[in-house]
Symmetry: C2
């Protein structure tokens, strides 16, 4: 169910009722500036989806039914379609065309760590690939198993493991099950007076286990940290046994193995419990807008705040293009902008803390050339903070191609990385006769550097998958040449695997394969993801 | 050389001239309360040390000379003795008795990453164990290789790799070589206006590479963070090739492999460069003392500061015993104390930041029952902050046994952990007719928990090594039963290996062995350390 109680879209994002109608100026812009022509065919209905016959060793299915009960082992058409791939634009394009070739043979819904462990042992024995499935919001192919070499593939859906297991108010920690979705986690922690403070754009549909597996970073990372900074303990089921990691806030007892599981994307084990550190639920929230004439001025201001403080809870800076087309404010897409670059600063905490940080940060922003735009742009951003993916659905419906990608590097390289990725995307798509609009924002800042998040929109070519693949490869190549990381918060999945291997080098890949070989000798855990 | 230019002690800590003379009341306390009798024998002179004949395959030595030059391949008596073991009390007791059975056959001094890599390849081929040697300050047996199964053992001394390679003032990062000692690093970074902010008790003799390899935490961790939080990049030489880790402040590109090397204690590779994040050198430092009636009150105050801020740069709280005997102020050991528990709070930064944090933190401390003691105790602590190990040398000279150990856990378990370790140490040593004095302080605080650092003093039994082994095992057992980590900042080495394996479990040990098997198939890197 979506938060409003409707049935979620299987071929788009979340609640279908929230897909906006594009205003006329946007349609005109798409047509005149990008050459977008209306889509030839709407997305197919679910009944029109082409689904392969389930093909799993009979003994495996029987074992899974014996372990979990028939009700929790599903191979009905809808269950399989709803566990096919994630939510990248390429995923959606294929689903909209009725292609569910990557559907799992079966969907299983274990309810406990021991059930997860038993499923893994059974699948290892039968050489059946296992794709852990939380919110299903991967945008990097993290839910598309490689089937070659396996006798079948199942989705291991964690939705029944959705409880807040314990709160330690004195230590400010909580133990969460992996299938708990972020909104429910916030609601339940809120009842204890706490917040996790993790609000990625996928917030409404993403799960705690997914945050851990993908090393997620939320929109409020400046104030609350990245998810990997929030995790103090992990329980992990693997085909070879259980890992229990994290006995203290910090330790010198060997390498920090929590950080080996965080970001392992289901390829090393399945996270069955996460102990997180909590923050007090904020009594006050204050969001506002600032205008900078140039992106570089705004970046300099962000650097000042990140290095010398005070840090806002949320800080994000749109470049000139993103500001001009209103992508920073999806609810007002296409409406007039005052030019320059829009910066959103949000402050959450106790009233005196919010006042003090806002005052001090405002002085820094003004000192760097920022012009205050009042609260309205901040409040508008906050209202629309999770709406971006709905806009994508509307643009796909209109015949456009739109996708995002992101990276990060150190401050001294950030400007060059920005230019390199913009150029690569523009050239790769222009060469295909689909010149793009490339917009960017900075939304995660650190003392030593920051992230860059790009949104690309263009006309769909005849083969949009190949079209995007060429652009994406060019962008990845540019990122590596400029010294950036191939992904700051989306993860590696299948889509980034080759660039990831180039980023960390063959010896690091071999190290991860050695770890996988020990924990998952049959290689059944999310095959093809991360290190293949 | 020591900072004052004298020759460092080979069987004690640092500069022999700084070993204090114990005041009469301390000697009386030792004798009357602990039953310490004057030492039967003083430490032997270096000439009295018993050293095994060097025993290395001739081909290996020739190769190393060809690689590094004869001057950088040393097997003279003094070089070998000075690379025998680290600085734990057990290490010193053995050295003081003239036992250098663990001396390396050879000491090599490479000057570059490529030379380190070549040494590793040669030693792998000849099955010669390699012990990376930075400052030599390990207190957990991290420099004592297992020789069984190897044709020899060498110390790989990194002192010639002692340069600051690069400073990126915009990103606030610097690239340091591993053999750079902490004081020189601070001095060179200070010339650029920066500080690393890492000040462990071993500061005067410890190296950057050692900090990385052991996941070090300094006395100012509340303000500047732990060393593992300071590292943004690592270059690592292994027998199988090079790892280059860290392209961005944060990334979702797979597990954070930097955190697999940090804390690997030379068992997975040799760190040949460390990129660290920098902080502005503080313009002002302000240190002061507070008194709490009970340790538990002080711990509650620390928790308030750690969770709700503001965080002092340094914060440490001595328990009633440590306060009473003046261990918090080694320079005034044995002088009268006003009872209760001494808390030291230090603030470093810009003058307005120091003023603001000190005022706000003081309000918290006073609100929790703290009584301000003025600046003098803080300044005294700062002057004496690295003096603890000299006091140990004096106590050993006087015939006492003194050693430290440390742990950490979450706030809700901290009181129970404190009691459990105190009881275990007291019972284990009392059972040996050497009832101890057990003192403790908290010196590292986090939002979710804190560390505990114990100092134990008692009379030396006839076999002090066995005496301490029994006490240490009892303490380690108590730590694990109480849910703590076996080490918060000393590392695993050889001494904690068994408890470490129990802490993380056999599957985690196997994971590390799989990583080691890939990076170091001949197992030559610091054998016996961490996972054997």
């Amino acid at each position: 169910m979506t938060p409003s109680g409707t049935v979620p879209s299987w071929s788009g994002w979340g609640d279908p009722a929230r897909v906006p109608t594009l205003p006329a100026p946007v349609l005109t812009l798409l047509e005149q500036a990008l050459g977008v022509t209306p889509a030839l065919a709407a997305a197919v209905a679910m009944t029109g989806v082409s689904l392969p016959e389930p093909d799993l060793p009979g003994g495996c299915r029987d074992e899974l039914v014996a372990l979990l009960g028939a009700e929790q082992v599903r191979d009905d058409r809808e269950s399989r379609i709803r566990h096919t791939r994630g939510k990248s634009t390429s995923d959606l394009v294929r689903l909209r065309s009725g292609d569910a070739a990557d559907a799992p043979d079966l969907v299983v819904l274990p309810a406990t760590h021991d059930e997860v462990a038993a499923v893994l042992r059974s699948c290892a024995q039968h050489r059946v690939a296992v794709v852990p499935f939380g919110g299903g919001t991967s945008v990097v192919g993290g839910l598309t198993p490689r089937r070659a070499g396996f006798s079948g593939a199942i989705a291991l859906d964690l939705r029944r493991m959705d409880r807040l297991l314990a709160v330690d108010a004195e230590s400010r920690t909580a133990v969460l099950q992996p299938g708990l979705l972020a909104p429910q986690a916030e609601e339940q922690l809120g009842a204890h007076g706490f917040t996790l403070g993790h609000f990625p754009q996928s917030f409404e549909y993403a799960s705690i286990g997914g945050f851990a597996a993908t090393r997620s970073a939320g929109q409020a990372s400046a104030g609350y940290g990245r998810f990997d900074e929030m995790v103090v303990g992990l329980t992990v089921a693997t085909p070879q046994g259980c890992l229990e990691l994290g006995r203290a806030p910090a330790s010198a007892a060997g390498p920090d193995l929590r950080q080996l599981i965080l970001g392992s994307e289901g390829a090393l084990g399945i996270v069955t419990a996460v102990t997180v550190r909590l923050m007090p639920a904020p009594a006050q929230r204050s969001y506002e807008g600032w205008r900078f004439e140039f992106f570089s001025d705004g970046m300099a201001a962000l650097r000042r705040l990140a290095q010398d403080g005070p840090r806002p809870t949320v800080v994000r800076l749109s470049d000139e293009i993103e500001t001009a087309v209103g992508l920073a404010r999806p609810g007002q897409l296409g409406s007039a902008s005052s030019g320059g670059c829009l910066l959103i600063a949000g402050y959450e905490g106790s009233p005196p803390d919010v006042t003090a940080r806002r005052e001090a940060a405002s002085a820094v922003l003004a000192g760097c050339g920022g012009e205050p735009q009042g609260d309205e742009p901040g409040q508008e951003w906050r209202r629309q903070r999770y709406a971006g993916p709905y806009l994508r659905d509307a643009l796909l419906d209109a015949g456009a191609f739109v996708e995002t990608l992101e990276t990060a590097t150190f401050w001294s390289s950030l400007g060059a990385l920005y230019g390199a990725v913009r150029t690569a995307l523009t050239e790769a798509l222009t060469a295909q006769d689909t010149p793009p609009l490339v917009a960017c924002h900075v939304s995660h800042v650190y003392p030593t550097g920051a992230s860059l998040y790009f949104t690309v929109a263009c006309a769909q070519a005849d083969d949009p998958l190949a079209q995007w693949q060429r652009a994406k490869t060019a962008a990845g190549d540019a990122i590596l040449r400029a010294g950036g990381t191939i992904t700051h918060h989306h993860g590696v999945g299948v889509d980034h695997r080759e660039h990831y291997a180039r980023e960390v080098g063959p010896l690091a890949v071999d190290v991860l394969r050695a770890v996988k070989g020990r924990l998952d000798p049959a290689g059944i855990l999310n095959p093809g993801v991360l290190v293949g």
